[in-house]
Symmetry: D3
Subunit: 69 residues, 6 copies
Amino acid sequence: MRISARNQIKGTVLEVTKGATTSHVRVDIGGGQIVTSSITNEAVDDLALKAGGKCIVVVKASDVMIAVD
Amino acid sequence: MRISARNQIKGTVLEVTKGATTSHVRVDIGGGQIVTSSITNEAVDDLALKAGGKCIVVVKASDVMIAVD
Amino acid sequence: MRISARNQIKGTVLEVTKGATTSHVRVDIGGGQIVTSSITNEAVDDLALKAGGKCIVVVKASDVMIAVD
Amino acid sequence: MRISARNQIKGTVLEVTKGATTSHVRVDIGGGQIVTSSITNEAVDDLALKAGGKCIVVVKASDVMIAVD
Amino acid sequence: MRISARNQIKGTVLEVTKGATTSHVRVDIGGGQIVTSSITNEAVDDLALKAGGKCIVVVKASDVMIAVD
Amino acid sequence: MRISARNQIKGTVLEVTKGATTSHVRVDIGGGQIVTSSITNEAVDDLALKAGGKCIVVVKASDVMIAVD
């Protein structure tokens, strides 16, 4: 499957924290950068996400903001 | 200003493409990764974004998806 | 690629309307339902989306609202 | 109330799963399609959502992605 | 129609700026606050939005960030 | 830091409700308007958000919908 979302960055799962319905997944995308994702517990189970696994961080361009100092 | 958005990655603006109301901004975040952002033309003007400028890519954790091959 | 987004519905592209930077893609998902998507022109080109093509509509669960009459 | 969101699909609530602050609502939109929504517990209570109830799934066009196989 | 989105604020349309596919709508919500919305041209036409009209600004709670100075 | 998000409204935190992974923050933005935000517990801790604190509500224009009665 190829998806319209413009941002697709390879990484490695660092940590999965499950809540009651929502999980937080921390992904190391290299260069010292960590990305945090908030997804459903169901998605974590479905994709069998766990620390050490390879993954791809996906973000739609319209969800990306730009800031300056 | 410090913001709740969990993902804040430093980068350099590569290109700003203005449309009629919406601009696309491409940012080099290092490690060979390019991030594309879709924001208003007004924001581009307000922040004076242009190629070569330093910036920070900001994404709320609930807008980040995870994929696996 | 398998993605965390919980909503993935098969359909057929009805129409692609390109703007200056942003395209609108209308997809027939069957049962008389049409879904409208707003994505970058670049994504339309990259996926070679055009009327009649098969596609999958993808929506993250946190972007779905519920209404009642 | 009529809303700008381009995607409004009628359905029937299948299941409401409440978490600590966030609920997941599964909706049958017909044609064998199930949509999952992640909303606040407060919204579930406010709209009195429960299995068997009629509802409308609402998604803004800019939150819809397109994928191809 | 009542919707799950937790934020629904009454206002008056100040300005509608149409682009090729995407419009920007500026709304005065009182107290000196202006809200900017980016929606499809189709939605603007469908709701007949124009300066001076009454409207309601709607935002899902998961799309609201918090910042501090 | 200045950010591209077009909507930045000053307010006062009314209440922080922590869930297992996700918190709800209610903010009084004046004029009798309350805004609800759903963010990570980690962000609440990082910004030390608590009732009575000053804050800024931030929303990207593409996440704002418009409704009419």
